[in-house]
Symmetry: C2
């Protein structure tokens, strides 16, 4: 009898100790191939999420032993990976999507974009454009975007409402724009904007001097000092077109755009350079040394015939390279990071005449941890590792177009598209589940997009 | 009273005559923007379909007055356009999708594709591969595909079962392959194959000598004579790689692949040349004169780093150019013609340094009527016009990623993807409705794809 009793006690104790070892967490995503981007993939893996953070990554059975999820997302037959980081875009321009494609850059800018912006862009416009873009980004697995536009504090507010992480850069430029009519007004705006968002878990406010050819040297120096003072990153277009390179060369007795920026002490680890198509080999060395990150935008560079960035050389030199879609008005025209990754790989292969130039794994890296490094956020996002923010997406691979799967990265990059993303989680919050976007009123955003189109078309007549 | 009676008679007569004017048809697709590809787009338009043919195209109200549909598909907020024509692929290779990407062509062929084919390809393999591909093509709006592989009569049978139109080319090559172990066996196969499918509404049987470097001159001459005798088209890879061009040059004391084919009397209006990357300006003139069509495969050419075809020059010279995805095993890896069209436009823009090089409209044309012309089927397919076969697709433009719509062609090419296709009709039969594929057992095809993957992986060990 006593023996039986002690055996029962033993069982009870074991049960208690097992129960104590199982930690309750908010959410477990389980059953898919986990592409951590920080080591080997985990077949039939899982990610445990609590209070916005990843608390563990492992095999499904391991995670099931250690954690119990208040909510569970089953991802069998799918890939689980870090949310995409769009390293360069202009999200409110969704409302100008396709307004004038297949045109020369100057025709496009002067006859369509500039007049359309002058006549239509206000706070409501950027808010609705951001809502539309947020729906699209969530639906295609982007969890962090990097923006340059006007009224960026409104864009930040909308991103936060949609649950997205964003680095939002307020445009500073040497002529009057939609929000700020003078340089001093822009400086004042930026000061308040950066202060307002300081410490936010999702939003990083940034300074976005438009480019070295649209902002004077004195103003660039002022931006540099201000960014250092405010501890805010700088977003800037650099060496996007051949024209820009020629213009800077003329104005600086021979410097490239990057060399010019370096010569005035502008470059640093907090600078995020968009495009970098016309970087010279010396510029690439400078960027590596100064830890300047590059947002590579292959589809925009192709669509506007800007040129092909030396992405393979940059990566070899140790420059952090992320992927950006650029704006959706005449230079892409979507925010689909899967498509962008495929284009990045294909463009380098054809340009270098080498099918091995960039692999599916390489471009997925650029679309996740690469972008995170560019933004200086690699301690928080870009991989699936315990301690990082829970930015996690699930990509369905069961459709005919992604079957069979010999290599999961290939299936995602070369066969899937943004539509294959079924679940999007940012900062631990589920923004899309089973293809249903939960944090944006999609119907309202689409209805408003149509209203804006009619208004924009009228304004250009 | 009499007056009242005669008024009633008049009403009755009017009603009868109106009723008589309304023709009953099988199906009306109505309410979308009709991109006929044969003239201006029709806003709020409709297509009336009967017995597999298009009987009328017009505004929705015009069609409603003249026709009553037994079935109606509402396409409000969508685009209605001709089904896509994939001008070059190898559909059973879906079962090898992603087996070995990001590799040099010879490594890919010799260490993966050739051994995998030798050990796995049989009639069942091509049937299941075609089913999987059919599901994918239907789901992304392709209604006609052009195939080169082995056991093409089985591929034809599967295409027909799925309701797809196909030009199926049996591979003829100077070494033993999966189906035919000798040249004579291939010739006998082709003779029976072409005869068997003659007169079929959906299937056109063709001869597919692999390329000018894998088929001897004598055999090419034999193919040419046989094609003329059988009134069957010829599908052939021409000038795909620089290596091929160099090899032919060596073997012919200086001729290009196309000039060599011309010199032996091979070229004609019934020849469909895949790739044509390394065509010289003289070759392009020859192709125009001999009415040889070209299947341009931009994504394959990029992925395998084959080079960039001179598509703009070809079109200027009057050569018919269609779009092909190529096979989905290491050279694409999907069968999405929307994505292919976007890549075609972007690749020409960046290569020629001209954003106007190819427009959204141009590449949609290549994906539809261009492909039809390449196949010599422009009298039957490629546009939406009364009298043509009813190959019609509906593309949803109401998703955030395609909104707003300033120009419908741009929305389709640069913002949508194959997944935006919601309805696919081929030869008057609805193959997909509201994204549900109706003519392929998709679950069975996907399950079998996984079985084949396991078998293929084991076979390569």
């Amino acid at each position: 009898m006593l023996r039986r009793l002690s055996f029962a006690c033993l069982l009870l104790l074991t049960a208690i100790s097992t129960a104590a070892a199982v930690r309750k967490v908010d959410l477990i995503v389980t059953g898919g191939t986990v592409i951590t981007m920080a080591g080997p993939n985990i077949d039939n893996g899982a990610v445990a999420i609590d209070k916005g953070d990843i608390v563990a990554v492992g095999t499904s059975s391991d995670i099931a032993k250690r954690f119990a999820g208040t909510d569970t997302i089953h991802a069998r037959g799918s890939a689980i990976l870090p949310g995409f980081v769009n390293a360069h875009t202009h999200v409110p321009m969704t409302l100008f999507r396709g307004i004038a494609d297949d045109r020369d850059l100057m025709d496009w800018l002067q006859h369509f974009i500039f007049p359309a912006e002058a006549k239509n862009v206000d706070r409501d416009f950027v808010r609705w454009g951001t809502r539309l873009a947020a729906a699209e980004m969530i639906a295609s697995g982007t969890t962090t975007f990097t923006d340059m536009y006007y009224f960026e504090s409104d864009i930040a507010a909308e991103a936060k409402k949609a649950g997205l992480r964003a680095v939002v850069g307020e445009t500073m430029i040497d002529f009057p724009v939609a929000d700020n009519k003078t340089w001093d007004a822009a400086v004042a705006y930026v000061r308040e904007f950066v202060t307002h968002w300081r410490g936010d878990r999702l939003i990083t406010a940034a300074l976005a001097p438009h480019s070295p050819y649209t902002v004077s040297r004195a103003h660039l120096e002022q931006v540099r000092a201000l960014a250092t003072e405010l501890h805010a990153p700088i977003l800037i277009h650099v060496a996007e077109t051949k024209n820009e390179a020629a213009q800077i060369k003329d104005n600086t007795s021979g410097l490239s755009p990057a060399a010019y920026l370096d010569s005035i002490g502008f470059l640093g680890h907090d600078v995020i350079a968009a495009h970098g198509v016309w970087l010279t080999p010396e510029d690439i060395q400078t960027f590596a040394k100064k830890r300047v990150g590059v947002a590579h935008c292959p589809e925009s560079n192709m669509m506007l015939a800007s040129g092909v960035a030396h992405v393979v050389d940059m990566r070899k030199a140790g420059v952090s390279v992320g992927l950006g879609t650029d704006g959706p008005a005449g230079s892409n025209n979507n925010l689909d990071m899967v498509e962008e990754a495929a284009s990045a790989a294909r463009l380098q292969k054809i340009t270098l005449g080498d099918p091995k130039a960039l692999s599916a794994r390489d471009v997925l890296e650029m679309a996740t941890i690469g972008g995170a490094k560019v933004l200086g956020m690699e301690d928080r996002i870009g991989t699936l590792e315990a301690g990082k923010r829970a930015d996690v997406i699930v990509i369905d691979l069961q459709q005919p177009k992604t079957q069979p799967v010999y290599a999961v990265e290939s299936a995602i990059v070369y066969a899937a598209s943004g539509n294959s993303v079924v679940t999007t989680i940012c900062d631990g919050k589920v923004l899309m589940r089973n293809r249903k976007v939960l944090t944006v009123d999609v119907a309202a955003a689409v209805a408003k997009a149509k209203e804006y189109r009619d208004r924009v078309v009228r304004s250009l007549k």
